[in-house]
Symmetry: C2
Subunit: 332 residues, 2 copies
């Protein structure tokens, strides 16, 4: 029987696991605060997202995956605003049964993400919470002055575009919960791995940030489901929207799942954790936008149009119309 490694104190924990990923402004995490010298001519973009065990991830998900996801979901918000990462602050509320092994895996994943996204740790706070593991990250980014891509500025007539494919993470979550569900019997091992990976590992679309600033009128990341997030953007812009369901980009694995069980499509349209970008683009810029996105390695697809009105966006499927009035997956 192996003895678990001794749990470090808070100071040891910071020095061992977190100081190595600290940026220059993080002052080796020895101070109470971080210092940022704002790059000239840039605005700062600040966003915060929290993840809770049992809500946003499973306690027994790999610790490295949890670490990567915690930063990834915040990078997705920065990307949607057209921002480049600058740094982040971490609040870690640890449950009673945390182990040094878990923390080592978590900080490995977090550090790997910090390095990938060039987003150093600036500071943080670690507390014991006698509850589920809760991770809150505040991320800072930069955009050229006045160029943040808002959620509230979509205009009627603009095309609604989405990156990548929709619903994979929702299927990955179903797989995680019901690994033997009927629709999975025809699923190849590759597709099973792909869907699970999409659930575990957000791929924030930072490569699209500059392209959004150039071409999009409004943008947000798709984290709570396409239907719900489009409804939020429409409402925030004082508009409605129409979507052609046939245009929504589904992956090969996703199309296979729908073929096996047609009811999954609604779940894919309303499920969370896509971490793709939803944006609106005026017709005059559409070709240039799609071209630039493709060249940046981020496939983007037109799925509909913003329209006047205050109704929940309509999803058209052949002759049928559907409004997902409770279409948002809420982690709350």
């Amino acid at each position: 029987m192996s003895t678990p490694a001794a749990r470090p104190t808070e100071d040891e924990l910071i020095a061992r696991y977190f100081a190595p990923m600290a940026g220059e402004g993080g002052l080796r995490l020895l101070d109470d605060a971080a210092r940022i010298v704002p790059p000239e001519g840039q605005d700062l973009i600040v966003t915060v997202d929290a993840l809770v065990a049992g809500g946003h991830f499973f306690s027994d998900d790999p610790a490295t995956a949890i670490g990567r996801k915690a930063l990834g979901v915040n990078m997705s918000d920065l990307a949607a605003k057209g921002a480049a990462p600058l740094g982040f602050l971490l609040t870690l509320a640890l449950p009673d049964d945390w182990t040094a092994e878990w923390l080592s895996g978590f900080s490995d994943g977090l550090g790997e993400a910090a390095s990938t996204y060039r987003c150093p740790l600036l500071g943080g706070d670690t507390v014991a919470a006698r509850g589920p593991l809760t991770i809150s990250i505040t991320a800072l980014g930069t955009v050229p002055h006045g160029r943040m891509v808002a959620r509230t500025s979509a205009k009627a007539g603009e095309r609604v575009c989405v990156t990548g494919t929709i619903g994979d993470a929702a299927l990955g979550l179903v797989l995680r919960r019901q690994p033997g569900a009927g629709w999975t019997s025809g699923l190849s091992i590759n597709h099973r791995v792909y869907l699970t990976d999409r659930y575990l590992h957000p791929r924030p679309r930072l490569a699209l940030a500059e392209i959004l600033r150039e071409h999009a009128s409004a943008a947000m990341d798709v984290s709570d489901g396409l239907a719900g997030d489009l409804a939020k953007m429409a409402r925030a812009s004082g508009l409605s929207a129409e979507v052609d369901v046939d245009l929504i980009p589904f992956s090969l694995a996703g199309r296979g799942a729908i073929a096996a069980d047609g009811r999954l499509r609604d779940r894919m349209i309303t499920g969370g954790d896509d971490y793709e970008i939803l944006c609106t683009v005026p017709d005059a810029k559409l070709a240039a936008f799609l071209d630039a996105a493709a060249r940046a390695g981020v496939p983007a697809t037109v799925i509909g149009r913003m329209i006047e009105g205050d109704e929940t966006p309509v999803f058209r499927d052949g002759g049928l119309e559907r409004r997902y009035d409770r279409g948002s997956f809420s982690h709350f």
Copy 2:
């Protein structure tokens, strides 16, 4: 029997309780992120502090006090760095049994603090955590470029100063836990109220921020106990320190408590939640520092000196020497 008010959805909750305290950069909390246009010639200071029910406050403390404290402890960090508040982001992890009444009180207290400290809400995230209420606040502030007061830059020979009085909140906590303890029998109602108030309501020393920038070589706020926090500052600066216990400023209520039970003094020196400022000042600036602090309404007291060495700071009490090797109250 009254029916509790219906619990709002996350969107309603944001609109009802939090949008009213949002600043201009908070974009009415309708976006995924906040935008900050950095004031010219200023550095940004960023700090994060989390509070957990049962650890940093009692679940049945007044909700307004919890709201005020959550922002106040972060303002104390900004003050210690010589910074002026710019705005904050809030992560609220709500337990299963949260009520609209509680949230209303909490947001009242938080909004009052935001208004007092001129520190508007910029954004946030609300999650359900099936654990203790956990509040994490990331606060941003500004200092003139290059003028942040670090923790790591104390120099040997400099005077160690502390603001206000030490140990009142620690006594307030004892009162909260053991209201009938022996030493309290001689405590006047005024002193009882005072100590409880010091525990519930941090008074961040923002009025000292500019004065620290002018006169102090190093500073931090006293949140985890004077002895432990001085040890942290000494270690971070590669030094040791000596303190004359007779010089530590205790309040009238605090002196009464020590007279009734001498063992309380150690608890006051090591207890947390003072939210005073600990700083080092060179001899040549000492008179000007003390004078400026007094004029700003923040009493400051010399309690010792930074010295060469790497030992835990020594506290001299008459002929006795004491080192508080476990002198820090850790919320972790």
